[in-house]
């Protein structure tokens, strides 16, 4: 009985961590902090963007338009606040289903890219770039077709 109660309490305590680190939560946490600039684009705005007749998101070689049309949220946090930076380094990406796709370290700069989803759909994509004094956190949420996402990623990495 005692062990069961302790196990239940532990599970309940850990449960909030499971959905504690979504893009929205991170955004809400740091939106009003000093030396932090944030951008939020809502699902409604993405629907409007998707209807723009001259939508052409890309760098000339790669067309991100299909991905953009499937997005439901964009959260960007650009921080030059040391305490926020430390906090982001520790907890920007929790254990909420994101898997590390890539990590690159160059001098003091660290770039980590995470994605979450299943074989058909990518529901979340996070880019975490730590440049020492500045930390940038980009979170894209939506229902991006996995094939499209993988194709863009591989094209981008090939160039």
């Amino acid at each position: 009985m005692k062990r069961i109660m302790i196990a239940i309490a532990a599970v309940l305590l850990l449960a909030p961590c499971a959905f504690a680190q979504s893009g929205e939560r991170i955004y809400r946490k740091y939106a009003d902090a000093d030396n932090v600039s944030v951008v939020y684009i809502s699902p409604s705005m993405f629907r409007i963007i998707g209807r723009l007749p001259d939508l052409d998101v890309g760098d000339g070689q790669i067309d991100f338009t299909p991905i953009v049309r499937s997005l439901t949220g964009l959260y960007v946090i650009d921080s030059e606040n040391p305490s926020v930076n430390d906090d982001l380094r520790r907890s920007a990406v929790g254990n909420d289903g994101y898997e590390l796709l890539m990590e690159a370290r160059e001098d003091k700069d660290v770039v980590r890219i995470y994605a979450k989803g299943n074989e058909q759909v990518v529901n979340g994509f996070i880019v975490f770039a730590d440049e020492g004094d500045e930390v940038r956190y980009i979170c894209l949420e939506g229902r991006m077709p996995r094939d499209e996402f993988d194709r863009l990623l591989s094209e981008q990495m090939r160039d």
């Binding site: 909030p16 951008v39 809502s42």
Partner: protein
């Protein structure tokens, strides 16, 4: 050993004298059995001892932890005030998305560049080996 009929015919004085003349036979382990019986009775009727404080502490602590967890879950699940779009103009939002994708592209390129450098470095020994073998 006298029969019940013989005992019935005896007077009280004779019975007393007979009883005093016979040696009483006390079972050898009678005292031990009495002590054991008394001890068992004492244990059975004793008031249960109170559990030490540390043994009972887990219950309220678990309850507090569970309550705290439920509060956190409830707070996380309850949507706060709705977020406001940073841009009202879809073209500005579109420009921001484009800028973000460019940043993502740059960051991916950083990783790709490092992989390419590593591949080149890793290929050097093979090149040297191939040259040596071809001679």
């Amino acid at each position: 050993m006298k029969t019940p009929e013989e005992i019935g015919r005896m007077s009280p004085e004779q019975l007393e004298a007979e009883s005093a003349a016979q040696e009483a036979c006390v079972p050898q382990d009678l005292e031990r059995r009495i002590m054991e019986t008394l001890a068992a009775d004492e244990i059975a009727s004793a008031v249960p001892a109170r559990r030490p404080f540390r043994q009972t502490l887990w219950l309220p602590l678990s309850a507090v932890a569970a309550a705290a967890a439920l509060f956190l879950i409830f707070r996380s699940a309850t949507p706060g005030r709705p977020l406001r779009d940073t841009y009202d103009d879809p073209y500005l939002a579109y420009a921001e998305v484009e800028k973000t994708f460019r940043t993502i592209s740059d960051k991916l390129s950083t990783g790709t560049k490092l992989v390419r450098q590593a591949r080149e470095t890793a290929g050097k020994p093979r090149e040297i080996l191939d040259k040596t073998q071809s001679r």
